[in-house]
């Protein structure tokens, strides 16, 4: 039974990855880019699912981790010559981890809504810093840079074309998914879920709950930062808009629409949201958030399991 479940999982995973590998070869440039972005936003959403879905902490501050990942990558690409992809990754992750450590230290002192509010405020702190520290961050205009080559000295050296970037993003996102999935099934992941269900009880059986929460926030921030680095590579700029809280809000929306506590759900949610936005914005230009917000509210009220949970129930019937 369990083995059968595993086979189904890996078959499904392989099929989807294969489809995504083939995607840039058949899609137009516009849709190729669209799919790459869904993967990146999906990774961001997945990273926050570790907190929202598995630990029961709603973060309204993931834009800070995402944005700092972008700015970290930008710093590496602008200051180091020749630009190096791996250093960009490294800088981005370090920046995101530093921010995550700071946010984790303060916000995990509070629970539930207080946590949500505090993460929101912290992301705004970083937004204000980046927005006003023009000399370093370029302020409102942000920073623009060139895409580095995908190279390992002595082994290979590729120019990062859009298609190759898509594959690179796909590899990172798929790998991150597998790692995150394993983390949620690990003993550590079980502790997180136990905190979500009953924090006092988890403490009573001997767990130092605060420490687990801090590590959870840091892990989540690290993967959000990774998404930020990928986004920087894709768009070749870093801008304060991405540190702004609206990005955090959309991350939460992806999770809720897709279904929290599933890892895949948030990616589905991101795809659904972005497709709907694409469709709606043709008629409604910039006001697409009116119907999307309404859909989101309806899902919160009527479909708390999200699309994935809803589909699962529907398939079972």
């Amino acid at each position: 039974m369990r083995r059968g479940h595993g086979t189904v999982f890996w078959t499904g995973f392989a099929v989807i990855v294969a489809l995504l590998i083939a995607a840039p070869l058949v899609l137009t440039e516009f849709w190729r880019r669209f799919v790459t972005e869904i993967l990146i936003w999906g990774l961001l959403a997945m990273s926050s699912d570790i907190l929202i879905g598995y630990t029961g902490m709603v973060s309204f501050g993931h834009s800070a981790f995402f944005g700092l990942g972008m700015y970290g990558a930008a710093a590496a690409l602008l200051t180091i010559d020749p630009p190096n992809l791996w250093l960009a990754l490294f800088y981005g992750l370090v920046a995101a981890a530093a921010v995550a450590a700071c946010v984790a230290y303060f916000s995990t002192r509070l629970r539930d809504i207080y946590f949500a509010i505090t993460t929101l405020i912290f992301s705004q702190i970083f937004y204000v810093i980046i927005f006003t520290w023009t000399a370093v961050t370029g302020g409102e205009n942000g920073l623009a840079f060139e895409r580095p080559p995908l190279a390992i000295p002595g082994l290979f050296d590729f120019v990062l074309t859009p298609t190759r970037l898509h594959w690179f993003v796909l590899a990172v996102v798929a790998g991150s998914y597998l790692i995150l999935r394993r983390i949620t099934q690990s003993p550590f992941g079980m502790v997180l879920q136990s905190i979500r269900e009953n924090e006092a009880r988890t403490r009573a059986i001997g767990y130092a709950v605060e420490r687990y929460k801090i590590v959870a926030v840091m892990l989540s921030g690290l993967f959000a930062g990774l998404a930020g680095v990928l986004y920087a590579l894709q768009n070749q700029f870093a801008a304060p808009d991405f540190v702004f809280f609206l990005v955090s809000g959309e991350t939460v929306i992806y999770n809720v629409i897709g279904g929290i506590g599933t890892l895949v759900g948030p990616i589905v949610g991101a795809a659904f949201f972005l497709l709907l936005r694409e469709g709606l914005s043709r008629f409604l230009t910039q006001y697409y958030l009116i119907p999307l917000g309404a859909v989101f509210i309806a899902i919160v009220i009527l479909m708390p399991q999200g699309l994935l949970g809803f589909m699962r129930r529907w398939l079972n019937e």
Binding site: R109, I113, I117, V252, V256, I297, V300
Partner: protein, 290 residues
Amino acid sequence: MGVPLDQLLIQTINGIVTGMILALVSSGLTLIFGIMDVVNFAHGELLMLGAYVGVLTLAATGNFWLALLSAGLLIGLLGAAIYLVTLRPLIDRGPLTTILATFGISLVLQNVALWQFGPVSRKVAEPIGGHFTLFYLDYPWYRIVVALLSAAIIGGFWLFLKFGTWGIWIRATTQDRVMAQAMGIPVPWVLTGVFAIGSAMAAASGVLFGPLSGVDPTMGLGWILRAFIVVVVGGMGSLGGSIAAAILVSLLEAYASLWVSPSQAIIVSFVVLIVTLLFRPTGLFVAAPK
């Protein structure tokens, strides 16, 4: 570096004026949270819509008091409607669900405003003209009026809570919802009413603040952010704490803007918040837990 006393005094007055508006905004937020565990993310958008209703009424009638009244009534009704449609079904689903729902509402309201009123900030003439001389400045009377009106609304609300039958019902419901209902209080209506009152307070602060900074669809976010800081610093659900924290935060920001730009001055509030979280995570102005 020395700061001249006159500047300090001007900033004190400025701080108290914005502090009173912020107190009005935060009271509504904290009232709603205290009674139904709902953190109303859309509170800032209700403020913004209130400001627009005020602008439109003022343009049509020229009567500031009518603007204040109509904004309070209309947005109060809107708040009641929002509560009945979106929050009532969520009543037992916990505060995290309601923060998600109200976040969705804030997105919708903000974009409706953007669609209806456009992104450009509308300047509003101060409805009560006249200046008085404060050192070298012509200080507008309107600002003083704003502070006094905010204080009056908060004070009136406090009296209502303290002595009115509905006030007792609201406080009883806040303390023990189930028992309140078992004592015959129509709790579903009290909750709807409180949401309407909180919304009306947000709307009133929007109308008052509009002439000071202009009115635009995104003005709600800045306010909700500061109101969040205030309620965490003041202690969530504590009305007195919110008011004290609102004035503290606004004063500090006003003093800070002597040295840095206003957009950076908000960092002072962030610092206050961080210090609060470090030493008194339950809030500065509530009794420390046992």
